[in-house]
Symmetry: C2
Subunit: 363 residues, 2 copies
DNA sequence: ATGAAAGCGCTAACAT
DNA sequence: ATGTTAGCGCTTTCAT
């Protein structure tokens, strides 16, 4: 009978049968020698390993996965792989998963619902053993949602309300409150807030922290100091233009931005307009991206333990994939406020005395 | 006979046989209805799709891969996933591959040879259909090298000399020459070079471009103006300290850095020491990272088309995986010099007149 | 300690 | 147009 399968390339990789033939044992023995070496005799093991070496054999993982009903792969869903915030989280994720023997499949959403549906299919097809969501929602397609895939799921960075799987984040509200309290402690009473997209949960929390801090001093937020942004650098520049357009006496003396990129855009634009930072206007950001320590002046910011968050979430996922139950629903890691030049009191922290390094400070 | 395979979970996903049973057709017909809809009758197709919907069937990809001897996955090897240069390239890669139906498996090397070996195994195991190298070398383990895996391979960003697979990069030497020629055209004759790691091919090429440009004006590089760095921000600060330590009359009037991070570190440190940029010292970087347009002053730099490079390399890889032969060995994309404030002639380009946007200029 | 053989779920060659 | 069936390469149960 003619072959019923695709023709094999001339240089086909060795399979377990090739090794078995060469070692003059059965395929089962080869499999055992590789998976449970202690169960075969010394001599057999030697012969098998020798044969593996000469054939250059590597197990076919598709076959193993098919048989074992597992893939040793994790789907990691990010909104934008090029965003440096996520990529640092990814580093932690990668380290942890790879240490546990899992590979990462990266799903870069990039605003494409079509892509999202494809990855949902991937998950339902059990091509991954678990899913890590950095995107603030459970992905789904028209016909179905990942939460019904009965697959280990962990969310990270952006909390998804009302879900029962583990989630890892920082306490955004408390961290924001702390940042604004720092400005209050510096004597500021006229503090503006530069927001992210209004419906975004991160912004909701950070805005709440801002209001809480003000309320602690019996201050009410002024509507014209609530600037709407979108987490982008240029939103920072636009906010700066709006502030500069205010009559001098109506301007805030400090600004808390919902993320560092906007804070840096703001910083740059107001200084170009002749405002001194922190002298005329203090600025505090959020996230703790690397550039917050490079910009001029260096930016006071809430540093999120991004890598650790990634590692922690990956750890939970590994536990779930290993069959563990009863994991915590919510884990909030500690963020810290790095005090830098952009919010220093007059005269202090001038010219990078600390050579640009940040000083963690709590409370 | 008792089952010889792992017990199935109660909620096992539907398989093709379940669909076939429900639709009252054979498994082959289901397979066909899904893969080649035009080959089955209208009525059958309807029934199959209906059954697919009610069972929630998704093909098991491990089984398909095993049968088809393909994985629809590509291994992407990066030195550091958190490096923003790579992550922007990755975006282009992801877009292209995902459009072609391929998933990405990210190998984050992070200086671990043990990890490298694991990914080599992955490739030899044919768990991926192709490999994209962003790491400047063909990965390998003690026992074997990926180049003998007989797998489609494309390298990008850092050229690997002497290999025959397609490589995508920019002409680093020409781009560096152009950057230095720009400084020469601005009247600078005392131009320093801040290098990357000396053995790195990117640095070798960029250093050569620097020397060529000087030679074009019959200038010889001065040894004390050749500053050794390592592509890091702090290498930039250190270089600044060395320049500031030079007697005023011995200092360069311009510096070309082998990458933007160092240029920005340098920029910041010399300004803190009281040097005006570009007034006292002009600076040009390399890469075109986003922050080069945010820093103070904005940084003139060679902009690499990172996303496009990623897309192009991915395209070649797709072609190879589709069986195409005779692809070009080397493709060099156009880089352009973005003229910004850090190298502006005195008085020009003051205060972000162009609102921070870059102006591409060739030649 | 080792071997024989049954599948994992799917595709495609062959038969009808 | 549809059905039957032989594998893809591996792990594991059962038998020896």
């Amino acid at each position: 009978m003619t072959p019923r399968s695709p023709r094999r390339p001339p240089q086909a990789p060795a399979k377990i049968a090739d090794v078995a033939r060469l070692a003059e044992v059965s395929v089962a023995t080869v499999s055992r020698a590789l998976a449970n070496p202690e169960v075969v005799s010394e001599e057999t093991r030697r012969r098998v390993l020798e044969a593996v070496r000469t054939t250059g054999y590597t197990p076919n993982i598709a076959a193993r996965n098919l048989r074992a009903r597992t893939s040793k792969m994790v789907l990691v869903v990010v909104p934008d792989i090029a965003n440096s915030f996520f990529s640092e989280v990814l580093r932690g994720v990668e380290e942890r998963l790879s240490a546990a023997g899992y590979g990462l499949i990266i799903a870069n959403l990039g605003n494409s619902t079509e892509k999202e549906a494809r990855y949902v299919d991937l998950a339902f097809a059990r091509q991954v053993d678990g899913v890590l969501l950095l995107c603030g929602h459970v992905i789904g397609s028209q016909s179905r949602n990942l939460k019904h895939a009965n697959l280990p799921l962990v969310s990270i960075c952006e909390r998804i309300p009302g879900e029962s799987f583990p989630q890892v984040e920082i306490d955004n509200r408390a961290a924001a409150r702390q940042a604004v309290e720092h400005l209050l402690a510096r004597g500021h009473r006229r503090i503006a807030y530069l927001s992210g997209p209004r419906q975004n949960i991160l912004d909701v929390e950070r805005a709440a922290g801002y209001r809480e801090a003000l309320a602690g001093q019996a201050l009410a937020p002024r509507a014209d100091w609530l600037l709407e942004g979108d987490f982008s650098f240029s939103a920072g520049s636009r906010a700066a233009a709006r502030v500069m357009a205010m009559p001098e006496g109506e301007r805030p003396t400090a600004l808390f931005a919902a993320n560092d990129e906007m804070a840096i855009g703001f910083l740059k634009a107001v200084q170009e307009a002749g405002v001194r930072v922190p002298g005329d206007l203090a600025v505090v950001g959020f996230d703790g991206i690397a550039y917050a320590d490079f910009c001029q002046p260096t930016l006071t910011t809430v540093v999120q333990p991004r890598r650790e968050m990634g590692a922690r979430a990956a750890e939970f996922l590994c536990a779930m994939m290993a069959g563990e139950r009863d994991l915590p629903r919510l884990v909030q890691l500690e963020a810290h406020l790095a005090l830098r030049a952009s919010s220093a009191s007059q005269g202090a922290l001038m010219s990078g005395a600390g050579s640009g390094s940040s000083r963690p400070v709590r409370g």
